[in-house]
Amino acid sequence: MKGRQRGIRFVLGALAVVGLLISGYLSWVHYMGVTPVCVGGSGGCETVQTSSYATILGVPVAVLGLVGYSGLLLSALLRGEIGVYLGFLLALVGVLFSAYLTYLELFVIHAICEWCVASATIMVAALICATAEVYFSGTQTS
């Protein structure tokens, strides 16, 4: 059981690192004022990144992503139940907020940023890992 939990934590940590790379790149794009590389050259990333929803009270959403993924990485490194529940909380907040951002992209901004889609997918995978960790942690203690 412990080996399985270690495996899940490793996957969660790896997902957090990929998420950090994506949000780090988008934060860099924001502060450097450059156009993000968008797969297929559709320009959707530029549209989303320059939209008025790209910041919350002056803080770029990408920076919030950096904070969230850092917390997720920390939760994967922490031992004990604190790490398990912190990972679950952060992944759940991440999935809910990503769902809202995807709604904005589809129905308000009318453009899709592949980086944001990738981040949302990572968050969903992280939530699956975090839920599995909570489940195994529960079966171990009960």
Partner: protein, 239 residues
């Protein structure tokens, strides 16, 4: 080991004694935090404190803006729009024709528009142009310029006061007014303003609004108050 773990919950007591209660609590906290982020994101979204702020937010929502450029960077046709914020015909163009150009030609990526603010009508044109360019430092030039035209007063009547300019900044969706105030005094705005005057001189622009269309098919010019059909024809001519 298992026996020790079994004892732990009863020692801690409270909410943590029940993993199910803790999970319910975490889900609740997650929903509240995500909802809070969603609500806060609306403050940077297309809404202002006035009705015109809202309209402007909707008009430019989802269209890339960089400095005085509106539209996708790789749009094949560029319209250089020479305008003076005190010019009544420019105001009419901004209110009546520009929204159609934005919706039908810019939003789809066919055209980008570059504003070149001129200051030939009078001294009040200068602070107005500087204020719009300062908003451009945060890529909010277009909504700010639109509000300037929406609330335009009589030429050289002194309506362009600091309070007036600040009020438009406060109504511009997503604009950080503190940063805007600081950019207003910066040398970047001065340089951009001087560059626009020099560009107008070399392009032979002596009236506003003047629209210069540039694309793979060459260049053409419209002066005065063209309607969308004339603009569309000019786009097709240079595309």
């Amino acid at each position: 080991m298992n026996a020790r773990r079994k004892n732990r919950p009863s020692q801690q007591g409270g909410l943590l004694s029940s993993p199910r209660m803790l999970l319910v609590l975490l889900v609740g906290v997650a929903i509240v935090v995500a909802a809070l982020l969603a609500v806060l994101s609306q403050f940077g979204g297309p809404q202002g404190s006035s009705a015109s702020g809202k309209e402007v937010g909707e008009l430019y929502s989802g269209i890339p803006q960089k400095g005085t450029t509106l539209g996708k960077g790789d749009a094949p046709v560029t319209i250089y729009l020479y305008e003076d914020f005190q010019c009544p015909v420019c105001g009419q163009f901004s209110r009546e024709t520009l929204p159609e150009v934005v919706d039908r030609s810019v939003r789809g990526g066919e055209v980008k528009v570059v504003s070149e603010p001129l200051t030939f009508i009078g001294s009040d044109s200068v602070p107005a142009a500087r204020a719009a360019l300062a908003a451009g430092e945060q890529n909010r030039y277009w909504p700010y310029a639109h509000l300037l035209f929406e609330n335009q007063g009589q030429e050289n009547s002194g309506y362009v006061t600091d309070e007036f300019l600040k009020s438009q900044a406060e109504n511009t969706p997503g604009l950080d007014v503190g940063e805007w105030s600081s950019d207003l005094k910066g040398s970047s705005v001065t340089q951009q303003l001087q560059a626009a005057q020099a560009k107008a001189q070399s392009a032979g622009v002596n009236a506003t609004p003047t629209l210069i269309f540039s694309g793979p098919g060459g260049q053409t010019k419209l002066v005065g108050l063209p309607d969308y059909d004339q603009i569309s024809q000019s786009i097709a001519q240079v595309d």
